[in-house]
């Protein structure tokens, strides 16, 4: 009678979460579709003029990606909570923060990465200049993991409630506004021909910090909201 190793537990968790997402791969596409749809709504709402769309392109794409990954965050612990798996995770002998880091990684890989991959298409819809596209992709690559990590803390805080839904958005919002300002700001600067290195560096620094601290904070928040 001996418990398994922590790495075995993490591997089991990764394998299970990926298997679950594969089983519901239709659902996994949802954030992607949502972002596409939000972006596609704007031309209808604003009219088809290219100059207007071009001006708002980077910002709108950023907002759409952000909303899509926030809305999908809600499911991060939801189903585990509903069927009692989360209790089992908390009761397991392994460090909870590590297990949660695995879950966050799976979330980023399966929602944010496809969003980044589809960003070029979105930028075509809104006539984003080709020169700005690399900057957009770079900022998204830095900003989305930051969103997943920060979001996870907030989801953990609201995990005790059923249907936290949009309250989550409210809690996350103040935390991610800086990410939005720096991310979209870098793109807008690039579009206007201004230097855009500084905001990217800031994002990188925050990301490093969040990678270390967010899983610990998430574990603490989860323990608070479960007992």
């Amino acid at each position: 009678m001996k418990p398994g190793t922590t790495s075995a537990a993490c591997a089991a968790l990764l394998r299970r979460d990926l298997a679950l997402i594969w089983r519901r791969r239709g659902d996994a596409l949802n954030p992607l579709l949502f972002a596409v749809i939000v972006v596609a709504l704007f031309p209808f709402a604003l009219g088809p003029e290219a100059q207007v769309l071009e001006r708002i392109a980077a910002g709108t794409i950023f907002v759409a990606v952000l909303l899509a990954s926030l809305l999908s965050l809600d499911n991060l612990f939801r189903s585990d909570l509903d069927d009692g798996s989360l209790e089992q995770l908390v009761l397991s002998p392994h460090p909870l923060s590590l297990l949660l880091a695995c879950k966050i990684a799976v979330h980023w890989l399966t929602t944010a990465l496809p969003l980044i991959a589809i960003a070029p298409l979105l930028s075509v819809f809104l006539h984003l200049p080709d020169t700005v596209l690399p900057v957009l992709l770079g900022t998204l690559a830095l900003a989305t993991p930051l969103l997943s990590l920060i979001g996870a803390i907030c989801v953990a805080l609201t995990a005790g409630m059923r249907r936290s839904g949009m309250l989550l958005t409210l809690i996350v919002l103040p935390l991610i506004v800086p990410v939005l300002i720096f991310g979209a700001g870098a793109c807008n600067a690039a579009q206007a021909g201004l230097p855009y290195g500084a905001p990217l560096l800031w994002l990188g620094a925050w990301l490093t910090l969040a990678l270390v601290l967010a899983p610990l904070a998430t574990a603490a928040a989860l323990k608070i909201s479960l007992t």
């Binding site: 009678m1 089991a12 298997a19 798996s85 209790e87 908390v90 009761l91 397991s92 479960l226």
Partner: protein, 234 residues
Amino acid sequence: MPAIDLVDTPPLLAAHCLAYARNEEPIFGPLDFSLAAGEVVLIEGDNGSGKTTLLKVLSGLLEPTSGEVLLNGVHLTLAKLSHQVALLGHLAGIKMELSTLQNLRFAVGLGGIRPGITPPLALASVGLAGYEDQPVRLLSAGQKKRVALARLLLVPAALWLLDEPYANLDREGIELVNRLLTTHAQRGGAALITSHGAYAYTSGTPRKIALNPGTGNRESAIGPKSTPTKDASA
């Protein structure tokens, strides 16, 4: 990691003055009891008497309002509990989308495995041979319960906390639970089970803890009783 072969250590689980209140309303009153290795104890009580709540407290999911719980003579904390307690509640932590085998594999990855058993063996011994690749969602109520029972077989936990393990099971399933309990007790494990007295655990020394319904049972009757209750269908 401590070894858990503790057949001769005095009480596996001991509770002193354990009480739980929700919003100042007592759910179950100060309870004193102990559970030795090799023992299976039945928690009896009417609907709403706090059986489920007691199990949640003992598994560390709820914090007791007062009193303390000792596991092998040491204070019970969440971290210590982890691999010595297996809880089977109304929610079994089973993924409806995954197959029975995938679920058990994950449970083993997370909690470790008893020597001499594998997930497919465990499935077979709860009567689900042939359902290895079936998503749990497609099983009937009793079959789901059996998957949860298979998990108990795999995970190396000395103390089982089972909330209404007999509900939804057919007669064969009830015998299965009794068989599992007997084996577990013989191996030096212990179990606390709730039930409405309909299907008592029949072998060994069935002891009962009674919870008085609703009153916050401040002077609850605890102690060994020997009559298993079979007269339920009156």
